[in-house]
């Protein structure tokens, strides 16, 4: 187990990167806490897998350094770094039995037989693979194969970190939940550093203590699920986390105050000094926090969807369209309502980034 630090790290798959767009991962500093359970969340192509491969050593960064507990590992191979990684699609050694598959990483490191056997049995018990130990791995189902892949990651007692690259993509939904819980349990028991890549926010939020959100090669926010929800640091986080995503309204600066133009009743933001050089200002509020009240900005109700345990109201405020999430029992007039923007949850974004 180790604390993984990334110093001034950047990576490009282009030989001579020039523009920022050439970088799959833009320059950043980051420390993965020893024993932390992280989720790395972001859309496809945002650099998640690059990040993972940089940590494991499958990819050598074009700029910057990586240290494990202050030891520079930038030039080391995956085996030397002692990292475990589980891939999106199950990787198993077809000709081996399940037990041999699990023992493979240990045997390659020349561990004594007795210890190998003990570890294999421990991991098999943990992942409920015991009845299959003698079977050949080739004939098993996809989720059993993925369990074996995970088992190979978990079998080494001394790994610096275990990386998961969307490991549950091929797994049935009910097994997904089971395996995720298993992973959490394993984490609590052994306190490995776990980094879990996913583009599924539910998976990220239920698994992780801290979520690292990536977008377009940038790490846009690191925080607990609650922080991501209540104070998205980037409009992408607001839009990506939560269902439906954050309402974003174009804003302007007028008389030193930030306003959203609505005929008659401009929405003004109090207490925030707008940055001087921003090209684009946006006001963000989550549907959960947008209040429908008896007084406030008058808006027209366009549509109300009943989703069983809550309702979604689409309202029109001037030329802007917003979504509000309402409790089932909240009374609502047929066509008009009043909106209130609670100050605590109304955020200002300059060029997509949160203005603190």
């Amino acid at each position: 187990m180790a604390r993984v630090r990334m110093h001034e790290l950047a990576h490009s798959y282009v030989a001579k990167p020039a523009a920022p767009a050439d970088y799959a991962l833009k320059r950043f500093d980051f420390t993965w806490r020893n024993g932390g359970a992280y989720a790395l969340l972001g859309p496809s192509g945002c650099g998640k897998t690059t990040m993972l491969n940089l940590i494991s050593g499958l990819v050598t960064p074009s700029e910057g350094r990586i240290t494990f507990d202050d030891v520079d590992v930038t030039a080391l191979t995956p085996a030397q770094r002692n990292i475990a990684q589980v891939f999106q699609f199950p990787v198993i050694y077809d000709t081996m039995t399940v037990a041999d598959n699990l023992a493979f990483p240990l045997r390659n490191r020349k561990l004594p037989d007795a210890q190998v056997r003990r570890r294999v049995h421990d991991v098999a018990a943990m992942l409920e693979l015991e009845p299959l130990l003698g079977r050949r791995a080739a004939g098993l189902s996809a989720d059993q194969k993925q369990k074996i892949s995970m088992g190979r990651g978990l079998v080494r007692p001394d790994v610096a970190a275990i990386l998961f690259d969307e490991p549950l993509t091929v797994i049935d939904p009910h097994l997904k939940w089971q395996l995720r819980r298993k992973l959490k349990q394993v984490h609590q028991e052994f306190n490995h550093t776990l980094i879990y890549v996913t583009h599924d926010q539910n998976e990220a939020l239920t698994f992780a203590e801290e979520v690292v959100v990536m977008y377009d090669g940038y790490v846009v926010q690191v925080g607990t699920p609650q922080e991501l929800f209540e104070a998205p640091a980037h409009t992408f986080v607001g839009y990506f986390i939560g269902s439906p995503g954050m309402n974003l309204l174009p804003a302007v600066v007028d008389g030193g105050r930030v306003r959203v133009r609505v005929p008659g009743t401009d929405v003004a933001v109090e207490g925030v000094a707008p940055p001087a050089d921003a090209d684009k200002l946006e006001l963000g509020i989550r549907p959960e926090f947008l209040e429908i009240a008896d007084d406030g900005h008058e808006a027209a109700i366009e549509r109300v969807e009943d989703l069983g345990n809550y309702r979604l109201a689409t309202v029109r405020l001037g030329e802007h369209r917003l979504v509000a999430k309402l409790a089932e029992d909240r009374p609502l007039a047929a066509d008009r309502c009043h909106l209130r923007f609670p100050e605590r949850f109304t955020k200002l974004y300059a060029d997509s980034r949160l203005v603190a």
Binding site: N53, L58, A79, F87, Q88, F89, P105, N108, G139
Partner: protein, 427 residues
């Protein structure tokens, strides 16, 4: 109305779900028995030569085979239905084309008709608006036999290119042929003679030795070369073209190239070997001739193995190599546990292709050594060609080529079975 209900409306019996299949019912058994008797009678009355007892016996065998195929077809082996339906008219056509006996053709057609009805579960008759309830209840799976029509073109081509020539050879193998219209049925005599022929035994031993030798060299060498080739970029293209060059050369030219290359007087290879002090002469020394033939085959055919193995290697996803790197696998372990298992499929094809090709090698040694010196490089096909088109012993040559065919079939079947088991991990 949707498609399902339309089907239900017109063919209620067929659309019922198929539960456990019933045991072979009496109507089917009776039909098979009648068909077998008709065949046996027809053929027995008109045996292959018009008089011998052997003809009647063969007819019975013929009928038994038909019965067995029909049984297999009934036991839900769909491929067998097709084979059967193809085989019965084929027998008819063959009867006519190979000049065996017109009545055989008739018998074949009758059989075909009977089985067509039986195996179709009456479906064919339904095309003409006739419902045969006794047969239609046998199999409750919906069948759409019109798909067979799609097979007809292939069937026609294969008949002309393979099946009819093959059956002509079968016909020759049981006759002593003196000239056009002068053929006499001799039964299994040629087979007996061939199986006890010393020259054939010698050729067979040489052939097996040759095939095993080239397989033992070409498969590992091909994999090794494929592993050493660049994976991508222009270097990969260049390497592929260079490796594939020998495959583009006509076989007789390959033989000629090596014939000249190996000559001690004017060939670069032979001349060089003699000049470094080796006494090399492939036209006089059996060992030298063998080495030359083997090296030539390796040069000519290893590229095929390389191409197959290369394609197999490129098909392995990167994640496997990454997982191996993370698991700390050595280069050898990566080869042993990832590359080799993933190559098993293409290597099986490579082994089969190379075995079958090397087992029938003819052109190159024919050009290079002509089977000599003495009989040193006389392989089966060279021996066969001498027999068939050198001496015009058509009967013995036909018997020989059938034995040859069966041997290849047997070896290939064994290889295939063993290798697919290995691939599945049951071995």
């Amino acid at each position: 109305m949707n498609a399902t209900s339309a089907q239900t409306a017109t063919t209620p019996v067929l659309s019922e779900p198929a539960a456990a299949r019933p045991a072979l019912p009496v109507p089917i058994l009776a039909l098979v028995a009648v068909a077998a008797l008709i065949t046996a009678a027809a053929l027995g009355l008109a045996p292959f030569t018009g008089r011998s007892v052997g003809g009647a016996a063969m007819a019975l065998v013929f009928a038994a085979v038909h019965g067995a195929i029909a049984w297999g077809a009934y036991r839900a082996v769909n491929g067998l239905r097709l084979i059967y339906l193809a085989s019965a008219p084929l027998v008819a056509v063959l009867g006519l084309l190979t000049g065996l006996e017109p009545r055989l053709a008739l018998a074949g057609l009758v059989l075909w008709g009977v089985y067509f009805v039986v195996l179709n579960q009456g479906q064919a008759l339904r095309w003409f608006g006739i419902t045969v309830s006794a047969v239609s209840v046998v199999d409750t799976r919906p069948l759409d036999n019109r798909a067979w029509l799609l097979v007809l073109p292939v069937f026609a081509v294969v008949s002309i290119s393979a099946i009819i020539p093959l059956m002509t050879v079968v016909n020759y193998s049981v006759q002593d042929i003196f000239g056009p219209g002068q053929a006499y049925f001799v039964g299994a005599e040629w087979f007996r003679e061939m199986l006890h022929d010393d020259r054939l035994h010698g050729a067979m031993v040489r052939q097996i030795l040759f095939s095993l030798t080239v397989l033992a060299i070409q498969i590992p060498l091909g994999v090794a070369v494929a592993l050493a080739m660049p994976a991508r970029g222009w270097r990969a293209s260049v390497a592929l073209v260079l490796v594939a060059l020998p495959l583009l050369i006509p076989w007789n030219v390959v033989g000629t190239i090596w014939q000249i290359f190996g000559r001690p007087d004017i060939g670069l290879g032979g001349w060089a070997l003699n000049n470094i002090g080796l006494d090399y002469n492939y036209t006089g020394d059996p060992i030298d001739a063998w080495i030359t033939v083997v090296v030539m085959d390796v040069w000519h055919w290893t590229p095929l193995v390389v191409l197959l193995a290369y394609a197999g290697l490129r098909a392995i996803p990167d994640a496997f190599y990454q997982a191996a790197a993370i698991d700390g696998a050595s280069r050898w372990a990566t080869f042993r546990y990832i590359e080799l298992p993933k190559l098993a499929g293409v290597l099986m094809i490579a082994v089969l292709l190379r075995f079958m090709d090397s087992f029938m090698i003819y052109t190159e040694p024919f050009v290079l050594t002509g089977g000599g010196p003495g009989n040193a490089t006389t392989f089966l096909s060279i021996h066969l060609a001498k027999l068939a088109i050198g001496q015009f012993d058509l009967g013995p040559a036909a018997a020989f080529s059938l034995i040859y065919f069966l041997v290849i079939l047997l070896f290939s079947f064994v290889f295939y079975t063993v290798l697919t088991r290995v691939g599945r991990g049951d071995a």
